[in-house]
């Protein structure tokens, strides 16, 4: 009888062992750490002594390394640092020539000819113009998540292909030689060069991609690199390692030998790993900010996302611009970011984020247009009561549509208190729903107020501005001002950059000064811990978050 009990136990154990399988794997980050260093003792004496290894964390696994399908920050980051497109974002987020050595533009500014540098993929194949033609057409054929970027860039027929009115082969891109690429645009587009730094425009080696079929880009050995770094290992859900690509055309300017990234999803874990020296940079949540704000490595980094209130422009009361302006004025943004959020967010009084977008003569867009609709509670109250009397209403009962995230709930509660206190007769009800549903409600425009967010697609103010045109998919509030619609259309093709920038400034004024169409609340930011030894880790507002190309470790 006793044997049977033991049998039962053994049986269960074996069953469990079989389940657990054998994939208890260690990442091979330790293995490579010695061999990488010896070969690359740099000529530059000052950096040679310090180990040039940057250790970072990522908030999630890389979904795919296929540039035509990639859609999230984690993948964009790795793609940007292991690959090279025609252009890349420099330290000031400007597009600079990268794999393209020369960029010629036809007189009517619609035909762009690129001459590529002579470079190789990490398997030794040369990188050719055909690789770009193949990749871009593949984006269209596969209906990749960011295929609209090709339409935004104004590449001939991209929009028609997107809407399935034309075949992907008819895209306006042609390899006219091994190293010459000709791209035709629908019309002159001042954004074209800015967009080319986006990972969706990277090249792909046709033969390699087709040989691997549906396995392409799902493992480290199933991708090719042609950028500053190579992806040398990738353990799913755990992390990946990049090593300096010695064959990169600009390898002399790449100082890091290695970048190790581990997946850490919990911010407090990130902070603990930072404390034990496992990672060199970590993002803090507001709870952790209080704990670490005195730490010497503590920093605030501005980000480029914006959080704002949408108004339903069909609402009998909220449809009035002066009512919306009063709402704008009644909200104390400093209290919101400094007391409620405490996560690196900063007050925003405009639709274009600050510190990332500059005029041709180097002035910050945000500073040029200044703070719009900023006011005191008294001003807000006066304007509110006056306008309400004009409309003939005594009180306003509205609800706010929010995603059920922790931070959005806090923001909504703050708004509720501010608006009900400062605007007599205002009643705000909070309706929290899952993110996807918040979006559905916005698209159907069945809300009164909605707490929304927007992240830029490319490094130009336009990405915050053309979403407000009539019928735009991100308008989602029935806002329509023909003046704005026209100006956006004009700015699309204006190639005089100073004139264009004036237009961009004017668009925001129409949206906010004239119409008070939305209520901007804050610009996102992150509170981080970053070691002082990490230099020039460049952070971008859109596309890939980081460029490691110029980074180094210095004592």
């Amino acid at each position: 009888m006793r044997n049977k009990t033991w049998m039962a136990f053994i049986f269960l154990t074996i069953f469990a062992l079989v389940l657990s399988g054998c994939n208890f794997n260690k990442p091979d980050t330790d293995k490579g750490s010695t061999d990488g260093k010896e070969g690359t003792t740099t000529e530059k004496g000052e950096t040679a002594k310090v180990e040039q290894v940057l250790r970072l964390s990522a908030s999630a696994e890389i979904p795919t390394m296929d540039s035509t399908k990639a859609h999230d920050g984690v993948a964009f980051n790795v793609l940007n640092n292991t690959n090279e497109g025609l252009y890349r974002q420099d330290e000031n987020n400007e597009s600079i020539l990268a794999l393209a050595e020369k960029h010629d533009v036809s007189e009517d500014e619609t035909v762009h000819t690129f001459t590529l540098r002579k470079t190789n993929w990490s398997n030794g194949d040369p990188v050719t113009a055909a690789d770009f033609e193949y990749a871009w057409k593949r984006v269209m054929r596969e209906a990749g998540a960011y295929n609209y970027m090709l339409a935004t860039a104004g590449i001939k027929n991209a929009e028609a292909i997107m809407n399935e009115e034309m075949d992907a082969d008819e895209l306006g891109i042609k390899a006219t030689g091994d190293l010459t690429l000709e791209v035709t645009l629908e019309s002159p587009n001042p954004l074209f060069v800015t967009l080319l730094a986006f990972p969706t425009f990277l090249p792909q080696n046709q033969q390699f991609v087709e040989e691997l079929g549906d396995q392409y880009a799902l493992e480290a050995e199933n991708v090719l690199s042609n950028g500053p770094f190579k992806l040398v290992s990738w353990t799913h859900e755990q992390g990946w390692t990049l090593e300096k690509n010695e064959d990169y055309w600009d390898a002399d300017n790449v100082k890091l030998d290695k970048v190790e990234v581990v997946v850490v999803k919990e911010p407090s874990t990130g902070a603990n790993l930072y404390e034990t020296g496992k990672i060199d940079r970590t993002v803090l949540t507001s709870a952790l900010v209080q704990q670490y704000s005195d730490n010497e490595d503590f920093q605030i980094e501005k980000e480029s996302g914006i959080i704002f209130l949408r108004f339903n422009h069909n609402h009998p009361v909220l449809g009035h611009p002066e009512i919306r302006r009063a709402v704008n004025m009644a909200i104390d943004r400093d209290g919101l970011t400094d007391i409620i959020l405490q996560d690196g967010s900063t007050p925003l009084y405009g639709v274009v984020a600050g510190e990332y977008y500059f005029s041709p003569d180097g002035k910050d867009y945000r500073e040029l247009n200044g703070d719009i609709n900023k006011g005191t509670p008294e001003e807000a109250k006066a304007l509110w009561e006056k306008t309400l009397a004009e409309i003939g209403e005594k009180e306003v009962n509205v609800s706010i549509n929010i995603a059920d995230s922790e931070s959005h709930k806090k923001v909504a509660e703050y708004l509720q208190a501010q608006l009900e206190d400062n605007l007599p007769g205002f009643k705000l009800e909070i309706k929290a729903v899952p993110f996807a549903q918040r979006l559905e409600i916005e698209k159907a425009i069945t809300y009164d107020l909605s707490l929304s967010s927007w992240g830029p697609d490319y490094s130009d103010p336009m990405t915050y501005l053309d979403m407000w045109v009539k019928g735009g998919s991100a308008n989602r509030m029935d806002y329509d001002n023909p003046k704005l619609n026209n100006l956006v259309q004009q700015a699309y093709t204006e190639t005089d950059l100073s004139k264009r920038f004036e237009m961009l400034l004017e668009i925001e004024k129409i949206l906010l000064v004239e119409d008070a169409a939305i209520a901007p609340l804050y610009q996102t930011g992150v509170a981080i811990l970053k070691r002082g030894t990490v230099k020039k880790l460049v952070k971008h507002p859109s596309g890939a978050e980081f460029s490691y190309k110029w980074a180094s470790i210095e004592e």
Binding site: C22, K26, A143, E266
Partner: protein, 310 residues
């Protein structure tokens, strides 16, 4: 016995079928799309993408197609991990979850067993109250509190064990330990009450009357019989603990399956939701079945022939 097993297998397939069907249709009620950047999709693009992935067809057709693929062993492709098969996604992540779960289960069962037996034997003594208190605390304090404390004190302050990440055996110890707290508490409470019941049985009195020494009575007669119901409880507990836990895995950066399920529901990754649901329920049903079979071996009073006649 054989026909009982076949009958049970038949029921298992029916159960799975019901689960698949219910999940498939319930899932359709969640608003949103499975595509990766819903913020920026235009209506027209949505129509094109829906057509591309067959989501424009009536739900009934989609359901039949899914069943067809399922019978051929094809769980489909993930939306969030463009093009990765659901099969490989589960395969990549179940290992670490199961490993940690198994360690927690073994460790937790042993400690729980000792605590339970001990407190039953010293019924109503200080020791009993102490171990009951431990069990209650273990049940009521959420495991992430233990996890965070362990990580901070053992990992950061004392530097005895890795703070997090999945880098060799030492990094499995803290998460397993944090996870085992629930197992300890559950097993200890269960064993204690079973032991108390068995101690009052006639055959225990008989054994003592026969003149058996006390340790033989406790080990051979009391503990063994008290263990039988524990097996019933341990099976399902094993499944739930070994298929990954959201919080522990997140805190210790364990590359497991725990978070994937929640994430998939949030981003509406249809095929992954279905795949993981199917995997969990199949495992669960299988374990319940195995436990029932084991029961027959452990407890001679249970006779499957009777079940067949009924």
């Amino acid at each position: 016995m054989k026909s009982y097993i076949f009958k049970r297998l038949g029921f298992m397939i029916v159960t799975l079928f019901v689960i698949v069907t219910a999940t498939f249709f319930l899932m359709q009620l969640i608003p949103g799309t499975p595509f990766t950047n819903p913020e920026k999709l235009t209506e027209k693009q949505l129509v094109i993408l829906n057509a591309k992935y067959g989501l424009d067809q009536p739900v009934a057709i989609q359901y039949l197609k899914y069943l067809g693929n399922l019978i051929q062993g094809d769980l489909g492709y993930s939306f969030q991990y463009d093009g990765r098969t659901v099969f490989s996604m589960i395969g990549d992540r179940i290992g670490p979850s199961a490993f940690i779960g198994l360690q927690a289960l073994i460790f937790g069962s042993i400690i729980g067993l000792l605590l339970g037996v001990f407190s039953a034997l010293r019924h109503n003594s200080v020791y009993d109250y102490l171990s009951v208190t431990i069990a209650v605390l273990g049940m009521s304090i959420p495991s992430f509190v233990f996890a965070a404390l362990l990580q901070y004190y053992v990992g950061v302050k004392l530097e005895w064990l890795p703070v997090a990440l999945w880098e060799g055996y030492s990094s499995t110890i803290l998460p397993s330990f944090a996870l085992s707290v629930t197992v300890i508490a559950t097993v200890a409470r269960f064993i204690r009450s079973e032991m108390l019941e068995v101690l009052g049985q006639d055959y225990v009195t008989t054994a003592r009357a026969k003149g058996l020494n006390e340790s033989a009575v406790i080990v051979k007669h009391v503990t063994r019989n008290a263990l039988i119901p524990v097996v019933t409880m341990l099976g399902p507990l094993a499944v739930s603990i070994m298929t990954g836990t959201l919080v522990i895995e997140k805190i210790f950066s364990v590359p497991g399956l725990g978070e994937q399920f929640t994430l998939s529901i949030l981003v509406l990754d249809y095929s992954v939701i279905m795949g993981i649901t199917l995997f969990y329920s199949a495992l669960f049903i299988l374990v319940v079945f195995l436990v029932d079979i084991l029961y027959g071996f452990l407890d001679p009073r249970i006779d499957y022939k009777g079940a067949e006649q009924a």
